[in-house]
């Protein structure tokens, strides 16, 4: 498979940095050259957190606007906001569960209805996989395993050459025992849902 530029976006605390690191490690374990790029610090205090994973043939650690092959959004509004990284052919995988920012709570702006958000995304790209990852994470027994659901959905989408088995081995290698079962279950639920949605 050729070069893959993946963008992860989420809200501080949703665990997208861990997800991108695990994807990078899984790639490396399969012998696929990978660079992961993260932003730490101020941006993590409840703000938007973006990370990138570049696989094969690229050394640049950032994705320019319009150049993402895959966008994995942990929150629908942030997926929409990050569409600037996408082109028509980008595979967009998004969680549908909204986390309204506090600016909305204090009346500075309105959170559009989620269906509208998804329609706005769908109208601009050819491949969107929208799943309620938050619900699947809860179903797996740990609301914090959303990042595993999303990695599962990525594996289920077939958009990279990283296999589900390899991804699960990597997850198992860096998860505390107490969370291992729920993490792997969350991954499987995400993978099955993405497979179901892509038919």
């Amino acid at each position: 498979m050729e070069t893959r530029r993946c963008v992860f976006v989420g809200v501080g605390g949703q665990g997208n940095l861990l997800a991108s690191r695990l994807l990078g490690e899984a790639a490396l374990s399969m012998g696929i050259p990978a660079v992961v790029s993260e932003i730490h610090g101020m941006a993590q205090r409840g703000g938007v957190v973006e990370s990138y994973v570049m696989m094969r043939g690229v050394t640049s650690p950032i994705v320019s606007d319009g150049e993402a092959d895959i966008l994995i959004g942990f929150e629908p509004l942030e997926t929409l906001r990050t569409l600037a990284k996408c082109n028509r052919k980008t595979v967009v995988i998004t969680n549908t569960h909204p986390l309204p920012p506090f600016t909305v709570s204090v009346g500075q702006g309105k959170y559009p209805p989620v269906d509208e958000v998804l329609d706005l995304i769908r109208a601009r790209i050819d491949h969107m996989i929208a799943l309620n990852g938050t619900r699947l994470a809860e179903e797996a027994g740990n609301p914090l395993s959303l990042n595993m659901v999303m990695l599962g959905a990525l594996a289920g989408s077939g958009a990279t050459s990283i296999t589900g088995e390899c991804m699960k081995e990597t997850i198992a290698g860096s998860t505390k025992k107490a969370f291992l079962e729920s993490n792997l279950k969350a991954f499987d639920l995400g993978m099955e849902e993405a497979k179901r949605l892509t038919g």
Binding site: V11, G12, R21, G24, E25, L28, P33, A34, V35, V36, S37, E38, I39, H40, G41, M42, A43, Q44, R45, G46, G47, V48, G57, V58, T59, S60, P61, I62, V63, S64, D65, G66, E67, L77, E78, L80, R81, L83, A84, C86, N87, R88, P100, P101, F102, T103, V104, S105, V106, Q108, G109, K110, Y111, P112, L120, R124, I125, P143
Partner: protein, 616 residues
Amino acid sequence: MHKLLVDSPGKEMLLLGNEAIARGALEAGLAFATCYPGTPSSEIPEQFFKISRETDLFFEYSTNEKVALEVGAGAAVSGLRTMVTMKHVGVNVAADPLMTLAYVGIKGGMVIVTADDPSLFSSQNEQDNRYYARLSGLPMLEPTSTQEMKEMTVAAFDLSEELDLPVMIRTTTRLNHIRGAVRLGELKPIKTKDTFKKNPSRFVTVPAVSRNLHKLLLERYDQAQEMAEKSIFNRIIGNGRWGIAASGVSMNYVSDAITDLGLSDKVSILKLGFSWPIPKGLCTRFLSQMDKVLVVEELEPVMENDLKVIAQENAITIPINGKGAGRLSRLFEYDPGMVREAVAEYFGVDYQAPEMVDLSDLPELPERPPNLCAGCPHRATYYAVKQVFGPDAIYPTDIGCYTLGLLPPISMADFVICMGSSVSSSCGFSRATDQEVVSFIGDSTFFHSGITGLIDGVHNNHRFTLVILDNGTTAMTGHQPHPGVDTGPMGVERTLISIEDVVRGCGVKDVHVVRPFKVKKTIGAVRAAKEYNGISVIISEEVCPLFAKAIGRKKRTRPFHVNSDKCKDHRDCINQLACPAMFLEGDRVSIDKNLCNGCSICAQICPENAILPLKE
């Protein structure tokens, strides 16, 4: 065992850029490390802090960057291999010792890491610290990948000892925070003690000594330049007549651009990793073989100007351009698309930018700025101060999480330029205006550089209130300890210094220690401070909830909920506190029980007492 202590030469690991630097230092036999943490440098010392508990490595979180460099200087002139790390603006704090340490030099290899922050992800400016190499006369290395971050660190120690000079490694945020494959080398044994040999004509910089030392520094500079000519980190890649000069992370964008545009036969790249002193011979050879040259470097046109000087000295008249080509500017970090476009435009190559999705007709999306966490004690302190001083007092603030007090509805940050400026600028504000002045500083920042300003305020009879937000950790940069922290739970023995004792020792007579989650009492203390004619200090003590959780010391608290029968929809809670655990459900305020930290501030300010703890 810490993962960076794996002794398996040849093994490949996925490492964070900052981990790669730490590993490089260990492979060079690092014995002594100091720092003041600061994004994007913080994960380097984080490794040393953990490793120092398992090995003979000495590591300390120093009070500030100047102290860190001076502590390091003592070790390095005694003969130990030493690393000092800081963010770019930290070098400003350390600039005083830096300039003269360059004169006296070192004995054990010393590497200073400056982590620059183009695009200001987590900083107050985006200064280009390549100028510090030029200002101090010290050699500088600029890695381009995780592998190079490790390799250059090892090489920097050897270089430092060959030249008897500290060597600077300059990174940028993108490099510090990428993860990439790193092939490990051998770990060197470390020398943890040596003997300081007295030599006043080298180490005591009175004018008569320094006159000689400056001359010596210039000789070493020439020697360093010769080494840069032969360095493996400096080379010309390719045989084409279109030249591109690059360093740092930009090198990756250039190399991807050449691949994407299919220009590898037409282009030659000048890659400068050992970038200062600039290898003039190599640069001249490069320039003399090119038809035109594009310089790709983030921030200032440093290399561009150097190359123009070299061209002039050698009567080379080809076009050399950097800033202004395409969208390449002095502002912010670059990206691959921007560099690809600039290369195509500069050399007149056909290029179609990828088609972006059209977002022009999107509805306005609500912003999501970073915010104080649920249960953050700073929110409570800000609330209490605002009840007494109102919106019109001047609120100088400082560098830390609490700078987020800038955002509405708190809106209590009026002036900040650097660490410690809250206190000292308040001295000026209180004299220059008749407005009331209340300044905010964090505990770590107070130790870093708030104390001298406080002494100034007391001594010169200024009048303002200083609020020290003591959350028991250096929160913003990732929960490092500071002199006021009990480090026992972190597994190291350090002597705790009481902030209150320091404040009283500085001569402050009106001192109030408050627990900000006790709203009424805190407001009472703020009132008393307001009445005082002179400098009053409020120390607001409550541990950072993220830190408490991280060290397993979080007290059990019950989350709160809004009782909809009692709630009369005043919305004081959400409008004045803007806690991220609160949201509107339909028209009414609701609390997310998974986010609520149980701090109870909202319950204390609700006029209807409608916010109550959830029953178990």
